[in-house]
Amino acid sequence: MTSVQFAAVSDADLAEVALTRTEYLHLVEGLGREPNRLELGIVGALWSEHCSYKTSKPLLRTLPTKGPHVLQGPGENAGAVDIGNGLACVFKIESHNHPSAIEPYQGAATGVGGILRDIFTMGARPVALLDSLRFGPLDEPHQRHLFDGVVAGIGGYGNCIGIPTVGGELYFDESYRTNCLVNAMCVGIVEQGKLTLATASGPGNLVLLVGADTGRDGIHGASFASVVLDADSAARRPAVQVGNPFLEKCLMEACLELAGDPRVIAMQDLGAAGLCGSTAELAHRGGCGIEVDVARASRRETGMTPYEVMLSESQERMLIVAKPGDVRSLQEVFERWDLHSDVVAVILPEQRFIVRDGCDPVCDLPLDLLVDGAPPRGAPGPRPEGPPTVTAAGIPPPPWTPDEAILQLIGSPNLGSRESVYRRYDHQVGDATVILPGGDAALVRVGGTSLGLALATDGNSRYTALDARQGAMIAVCEAARNVVATGAKPVAVTNCLNFANPEHADVWWDLHDAIEGIGEACRALEIPVVSGNVSLYNDTGGTGIDPTVVIGMVGVIDDVAQRCTAGFRDEGDLIALVGPVEAELDGSEYQRLAHGVNAGAPPRLDIDLERRVQSFIVEAVSAGLLHSAHDCAEGGIAIAIAESCLLGDIGAWVGIDELGQGEGLIIGEAGILFGESQSRFVISFAREALVRLHELAGRHSVPFRGLGSVGGERVCVTGCIDVSLVDVRRAHEGALIERE
């Protein structure tokens, strides 16, 4: 080793690469010597939580990842499932929380760019994007700044590259005041034979670095994402990358042109930890080694050190592994798209990670130690005793009439219309969006087939804050319900786990419990987890976010013409509630708005009933019995009915007497109207379908209650609610508009 060698490592050096002293000693032991500075930086990046999953990996192993449709589970750039017709659907969700908190536009934009690359690296053409966003209360100027910047960044990148942003979710809560969440999901389609993996093979094969030149942007991004934010975080702005969607468009088209091409042995995008992370993972997956020559990488700036070249997170870059004889012809393909490429590495037979700067060897690490050697982190302490349970009991409800309550709820930031957001995203480019944003799940048709993909993200952090396990189960069920409401059958899940500092026992145990909950719900519903991402350290100055589980669900409907939408349709149609009636207000949006707390236990969940209810809806839609189906979620039955009215632009009359009878419940009680009991849908249908639906409900053993009928221009619940649709719409549409 040359001059970069150094003797003792200081605490400051370790802090810079986000390694603990224990981890450092583990590294020295594995290496049999002290690492040089470059090696230390590389290990720091790859042993960061973001790259190594050192905290979450042992927990994630418990998730169900196999199923008859699974073509690729976790471990590659994205998961893939068989959707029929010889096609695979490739998808993944990923967080870009830390960069977005510092620089919302570029943070969100490059989050979209990064998840797109994960999909087209697999050879799949991206067909849809979804975004799950969380901010602090919107009436604070800084939150408005973050929110506007993130929405603009998502639109700026997605619109420009021409992939529709079809859905997602948006919540505002105190817990995200200092740590916003930006999770982006991408879904792509590929012929199964063209599915491309990021597994290098063949010693002597060459590695092309294609796309953007390497600059100083984003150095330490992976480590940055793996520490708590502090007052100095704004000074880390250089750790946030800048996106170039047009370059990515060219890169995407070139890579898709090469999908399935026998000259391409493997393809791997550059994401977290840049060239270092991508080359190491590429070689490690293939059980070989790699030798990178940083001198060969084209730079954006002069004077960059090997360290900076290896750790730069400059966007829009890709690695291609090819036989030496094929390199030139592949470069010609890229040149047609005005993409520059350099041969930067060679595959080695032995599992080593070697970096050279021209003739100088500057790094030589055992690959296994680098990629898999981070000491796993277990529980930092025993499960803490639960904090004193907050209760809403002592807090009197506000003097709202039911009319006022429904308008308050539907006009609240969490339940209000998202139209002012999704109209800023091109959600139709590609001419495939059959169900537009605004309903339960978006539905995107698959070109050349009758198939449709129903896509949704979901995760209610109020529930996970109260009970991580139960909340996570509900997140899976609710995402599945969104997909089912279109008539599609859920096929697989991707998940993004956003948590605070896992070095705190309560956070670690919440993570543990949430993963258990996801596993249990996915096993019960027979929906495997094929990809995902963990974002920890969403904590600023000791204030962490509530545990937030975001589930991205993909469902398939055989014939898009059979789809069902959430809006009421025809005057005179009957309305029914499928699922249980209970009066649970704990953890509800109503509780938060009316009582100002999030308290008690999340709604009960009978996973077996959930499965039956979902089967009932899928079967009812495919039999053509329904005119609308809408998941009953935040805000309960009353809000679900109001939403179906808004989407269909028609009123409804509901006799809620039906609900209370025999249950010992008080009619008009907030718990019935606004409680968020699980496993429920509000459906509408022609009168003629009633008998068959009753019969079907009996066969699936699901509760089925007639509620009323569709028609008029008011939302009426006899004896308590009577508001005009115009007023409901005004409240709904005004929810996110900035008040002067």
Binding site: N159, G162, F246, D426, H427, D431, L436, R445
Partner: protein
């Protein structure tokens, strides 16, 4: 599909410049694309009376290339808008609109951040006088929006034609409104009009053949 670096139109009967973000549109929509090698051939084709149809980014490029008058600037909201719009057919003496009736209302979505049509008073007066406003944004029922269009276009202009009626530029996306499954099939009328014209069954508008 023609490649931007080519110059050969390969015998096309009608050139459609589709929507998108050509070269990223980082500077100003269409400002770079107008210099694409292919655009030289498109301009020559248009100047010779060939049918050229610019949709969204295509319209922006046509204005930048001075094949159509005026310019498309940022929406007055300063935000991107992807929403359904309703267009009133204002002029039927072009091959693109010949099969429509004046006053027809078409439901066709927009999706752009820079779609506000602007021109000086003289140009606007000329466009109106010569009946070259092809489409105007209206309400669903066909009534005038009177300046309240989705992007703030002057005279609520959504699309214009060239003096010879052979070049059409429009911000809305008719190709996104070609089947009921996607919410509207009104855009198909425009494609049918062009197809009819090109197959020889349509009457070439007088201005285009003169």
């Amino acid at each position: 599909m023609l490649w931007h670096k080519d110059r050969d139109l390969r015998g096309a009967d009608c050139v459609i410049l589709p929507g998108g973000f050509a070269y990223g549109d980082y500077l100003r929509a269409g400002a770079v694309a107008r210099f694409a090698p292919l655009m030289e051939s498109v301009a020559a084709f248009a100047n010779a009376g060939g049918l050229v149809w610019g949709i969204c980014n295509g319209f922006q490029i046509l204005c930048e290339a001075h094949l159509l008058p005026g310019a498309l600037t940022r929406n007055t909201s300063l935000e991107f808008r992807c929403i359904p719009t309703w267009l009133r057919v204002e002029s039927v003496d072009s091959g693109f609109t010949a099969g429509c009736a004046r006053g027809d209302v078409l439901q066709i979505p927009i999706s752009h951040g820079e779609g506000r049509f602007v021109a000086d008073e003289e140009t606007l007066a000329m466009l109106e006088r010569e009946h070259r406003v092809a489409f105007r944004y209206v309400r669903r029922d066909g009534s005038a929006v009177d300046g309240e269009s989705p992007n703030g276009s002057m005279h609520d202009i959504a699309g214009i034609v060239s003096e010879r009626r052979n070049v059409l530029g429009m911000m809305p996306h008719p190709e996104r409104a070609c089947e009921p499954l996607l919410g509207s099939s009104d855009g198909m009328q425009l494609f049918n009009n062009v197809a009819k014209l090109l197959s020889g069954n349509g009457v070439m508008p007088v201005a285009a053949v003169s």
